[in-house]
């Protein structure tokens, strides 16, 4: 199974159309390997993006340098995946 240790999901709040466009620029940078869970659409609609560990620093610097607000929605994806797997295995063990 692919490992998502250190991957974070950022919830970005674009205040205006210019900021939405800025975030869209990020979308085109394939080397960042961003996974948009909720696409940049228009101001006021949250943008959720999964950021691999290797890209986190540069993405946060980019957002902060453009004054774009964000919060960390998920600190570490792998922690939630481990939780999900544990829950499923516990069920399967009981079922067996």
């Amino acid at each position: 199974n692919e490992n998502f240790v250190g991957h974070q999901v950022l919830r970005i709040s674009a205040a205006n159309e210019a900021q939405v466009q800025k975030v869209k620029e990020l979308e085109d940078l394939e080397h960042l390997q961003l996974d948009f869970w909720r696409d940049p659409v228009r101001p006021g609609i949250p943008i959720d993006v999964r950021v691999p560990f290797t890209s986190i620093q540069s993405v946060k610097v980019f957002l902060e340098s453009h004054g774009i607000n964000y919060e960390i929605m998920i600190e570490d994806i792998q922690t939630l995946l481990d939780e999900e797997q544990k829950q499923m295995s516990a069920f399967q063990a009981r079922a067996l």
């Binding site: 998502f4 659409v41 829950q87």
Partner: protein, 307 residues
């Protein structure tokens, strides 16, 4: 049995297929399993048919899991299947619907992708088809339909998560539904269920042209969302795809609407706790319960407004 089946946990593809067989065995008069095709990797694609008789009755189609990582949708689909068998003959309004209409429920609409989320990459969304000339895999099955195919609102890059594919219906998972719907010819409502962001959407996605039935669809969406929110207070927005979220071309409900299926809707189910696609299993049943109230509203309206 489906009585001891655990609806409050996520299941693998095999467990869901086993559940389907159990449900059919326990309800042979009401439920049958139809194979509508095989996936790119050769897995069977199953649809559950709920029917109380007649031939080619007007029908309602519900599908979940077209985007494989949206696990709460397949899990809700399993719950809906059980709910249908429990409520028929118990709930008067629902019994009236099923006494006059059939329901088709495709729980795992993207089996290859779903198996891949369990085995390899939990974040996988697309199909697992191969694109000649590219190292990237998969097509977004919600951009592959023949409605505004390839227009703005999808990507022509095979590595993108919204890659529309080489041509409309290139994905066998999509083509199988297209053929089924076309051959059936009497489907009156088509509901495709995604997650997340708590939205109820109707056509169009590929154009800002209002759908001819926009007024009625908007009213029905409002009623359905009101019913959904009444249970646990989960807040939904509703509207056309392009107005409410973004331009999306080649989408399922734009095609079904273009086929004359007036009541074409897309759900984006919950996340209420900032978990996105990783919704805790503890939220499966409440999500399914609230969504069912919205589905009932749409099914009841479809039944009472034949066309």
């Amino acid at each position: 049995s489906t009585k001891t089946f655990n609806y409050a946990t996520y299941h693998t593809l095999d467990e869901i297929y086993e559940f389907m067989d159990l449900l059919v065995t326990e309800n042979p008069q009401l439920v049958s399993k139809i194979q509508i095709g095989n996936t790119f990797e050769g897995r069977p694609i199953y649809v559950l048919k709920f029917s109380t008789g007649g031939t080619n009755r007007p029908a309602i189609w519900i599908d979940t899991g077209i985007h494989s990582r949206e696990w709460v949708t397949q899990a809700s689909g399993v719950w809906f299947a059980k709910k249908i068998t429990e409520d028929y003959g118990q709930d008067a309004a629902f019994t009236a619907i099923l006494d006059n209409m059939d329901i088709f429920l495709e729980i795992v609409t993207n089996p290859d992708g779903f198996a891949y989320t369990h085995k390899t990459n939990r974040m996988w969304r697309k199909t697992r088809s191969r694109t000649q000339g590219s190292l990237c895999v998969g097509v977004d099955p919600n951009r592959n339909w023949d409605a505004g195919f390839g227009l703005a609102g999808a990507s022509s890059n095979p590595c993108s998560d919204t890659y529309h594919g080489k041509f409309a219906n290139s994905e066998v998972e999509v083509k199988s539904i297209v053929d089924f719907v076309t051959n059936h010819g009497n489907i009156k409502a088509f509901i495709s269920i995604h997650s997340y962001s708590q939205l109820l959407l109707y056509p169009y996605g590929y154009t800002s042209e209002p759908a001819p039935d926009k007024e009625e669809l908007d009213q029905l969406a409002k009623s359905a969302v009101t019913a959904l929110t009444s249970l646990y207070g989960t807040k939904y927005k509703y509207g056309s795809i392009i107005d409410t979220i973004y331009q999306a071309s080649g989408s399922t409900v734009d095609w079904t609407y273009s086929q004359g299926i007036k009541y074409s809707f897309t759900f984006e189910l919950r996340d209420t706790g900032l978990r996105g696609f990783l919704l805790p299993a503890s939220q499966i049943i409440p999500t399914a319960e609230e969504t069912w109230l919205a589905l009932l509203t749409i099914m009841d309206h479809t039944f009472k407004h034949p066309y």
